[in-house]
């Protein structure tokens, strides 16, 4: 049977390799929140097999399953057959957009990024009372969530960089637009060009990102290849901070949530923990950690398209925080901070921070 869609041409063998063992079901955050087998990776692979066998059509009826995935890659990590479900779904979504079947939230996001500089269609960008677009050795690239949803955390991260006397500049940044690739569209070339021009104009040798997804996009997408070609290093703030001595410590019990974009997608598990051990030796691990960390539920556009389920996924993660008895939950991603903070119940007395934000608070208290 001739392949009708690109996902078949690229991933037919992988989809058929799914042995329906259900290991993915145990770790899928969407399944964990909904208990609907059609929404876990195995369910999605079964649907795609039916599409390849021409038993069902790829159409709007499949949107809820195929577009409801945080692309956390927990299924891939645990799949004995090595089925790379997130990559398969990204291609399926492109095929669906091509035939006119797309979740309206994602269609909207693509339209928003044609007219606006950020995914929220906000007009006023927080400037953090700092100079922008000047010559400096480092650019600090905030990312949409850090600019428009978690600006208080970003302010504290910038204060920390100031305390550490890092010579950085902010730029008039626009969305890296990497998320479009997750939800059926192509990265926006105009936005990428704008970011690269503004980064290169500073003469910086490195970009420090507050957002792990932006770091992934700059490092991996061909539209941003010029940065590396011109010798610009891309670092997430957790990588940048690992060699600093902060000179402060807390006795509080802390735990660490691995963001999927930093952990499973980039393999960065140790640097954030090394930094935390320096300032908070009483670090405890949640029952799911590192490669097996539960997703906070915000990724893959799910926070925007399926907010109730997204919050439900975060609540499952927060139950694990409670079980540790930690007073502080640290992470390294503004999307995770945002979703986990929104989901946290008042009776849950621990606080949620980005690590850099927490370090800054400790240093401020010491003064």
């Amino acid at each position: 049977m001739e392949a009708k869609y690109d996902f078949e041409r690229k991933y037919r063998e992988q989809i058929l390799q799914c042995s329906r063992c259900g290991f993915c079901q145990a770790v899928c955050p969407v399944y964990g929140a909904t208990l609907r087998p059609a929404l876990n990776a195995r369910g999605k692979m079964l649907l795609l097999k039916e599409v390849m066998d021409r038993k069902i059509e790829l159409n709007d009826e499949l949107i809820e399953s195929l577009f409801q995935c945080t692309t956390c890659a927990s299924c891939y990590e645990n799949c004995p057959s090595g089925v790379n479900v997130p990559e398969i779904l990204k291609q399926v979504r492109k095929d669906m957009v091509h035939i006119g079947s797309c979740h309206p939230a994602f269609r909207g996001m693509n339209e928003v990024l044609k007219k606006h500089t950020n995914i929220y269609a906000e007009n006023e960008q927080e400037d953090f009372d700092r100079e922008h677009n000047r010559k400096a050795p480092y650019v600090f690239f905030v990312g949409c969530v850090g600019l428009y949803r978690e600006d208080e955390s970003t302010e504290e991260t910038l204060e920390l960089l100031d305390r550490l006397e890092v010579d950085y500049t902010l730029i008039d940044e626009v969305c890296c637009s990497g998320v479009l690739e997750d939800v059926g569209y192509e990265l926006n070339e105009d936005l990428a060009r704008t970011n690269m021009d503004r980064i290169l104009a500073t003469g910086a040798g490195a970009v420090i990102t507050g957002c792990p997804y932006c770091a992934r996009t700059f490092n991996n997408k061909p539209q941003y290849a010029e940065l590396k070609e011109k010798g610009v290093e891309i670092l997430h703030v957790s990588q940048f901070l690992k060699d600093f001595d902060f000179g402060v410590k807390t006795d509080k019990v802390v735990t660490y949530h691995d963001p999927c974009d930093l952990g499973r997608h980039c393999g960065i598990y140790d640097e954030p923990r090394e930094t935390i051990r320096k300032i908070a030796p009483n670090i405890v691990e949640m029952s799911h950690n590192r490669e097996n960390a539960l997703c906070c539920g915000a990724g893959g556009g799910v926070r925007g398209a399926y907010p109730k389920n997204s919050i439900a996924m975060a609540r499952r993660r927060l139950e694990e925080v409670e079980e540790t008895g930690a007073e502080i939950l640290l992470t390294e991603c503004n999307s995770c901070v945002h979703n986990l903070s929104n989901a946290k119940l008042r009776k849950q007395k621990f606080k949620v921070y980005n690590t850099s934000q927490f370090i800054n608070e400790l240093m401020e208290t010491e003064e």
Binding site: A105, I119, A121, P307, K308, I311, N342, L345, R346
Partner: protein, 140 residues
């Protein structure tokens, strides 16, 4: 009173960012009005600060969020936060379903109850304000 499809009860006072206020003894109850909840769509998060927080008239003291919209909640008068609707933690949709009843958000103790008279109130003033905002948001 219904204004172009928005239910805006006559007896309430309104803060200009579309939060309603109602007297309840020495306290004020507040929530999001019908115009705001319809503009926002499905509410997914309401920040519920700790009781005792001091509120300054016109200053942001909490956040509200739907799928892709973030709203700021402003203090209608100088006050102290004395109670929050904890049901909104798990049922933020109460604001969409019953914004003037079960979807109430906060109870505050005003420093000066007379300040409430400075808020938008009375059918004529409310209609003029809502019609202007309908026009404003239609342009955006």
């Amino acid at each position: 009173m219904e204004i172009e499809g928005y239910n805006m009860p006559d007896e309430l006072y309104y803060e200009e960012n579309h939060f309603w206020v109602r007297r309840e003894g020495e306290l004020l109850v507040m929530g999001m009005d019908d115009f705001a909840q319809k503009m926002a769509g499905e509410i997914v998060f309401i920040q519920l600060p700790d009781e005792g927080k001091k509120l300054k008239k016109g200053k942001k003291f909490a956040k509200a969020e739907s799928g892709k919209w973030l709203g700021k909640v402003f203090a209608p008068v100088d006050a102290e936060l004395v109670a929050v609707n904890e049901e909104l933690e798990t049922r933020p949709d109460l604001i969409n379903n019953d914004c003037y009843g079960k979807g109430w958000m906060y109870k505050i103790r005003p420093s000066d109850m007379a300040e409430v008279e400075e808020l938008i109130h009375g059918p004529e003033a409310v209609e003029k304000w809502v019609l202007a905002d309908i026009e404003k948001y239609a342009e955006e």
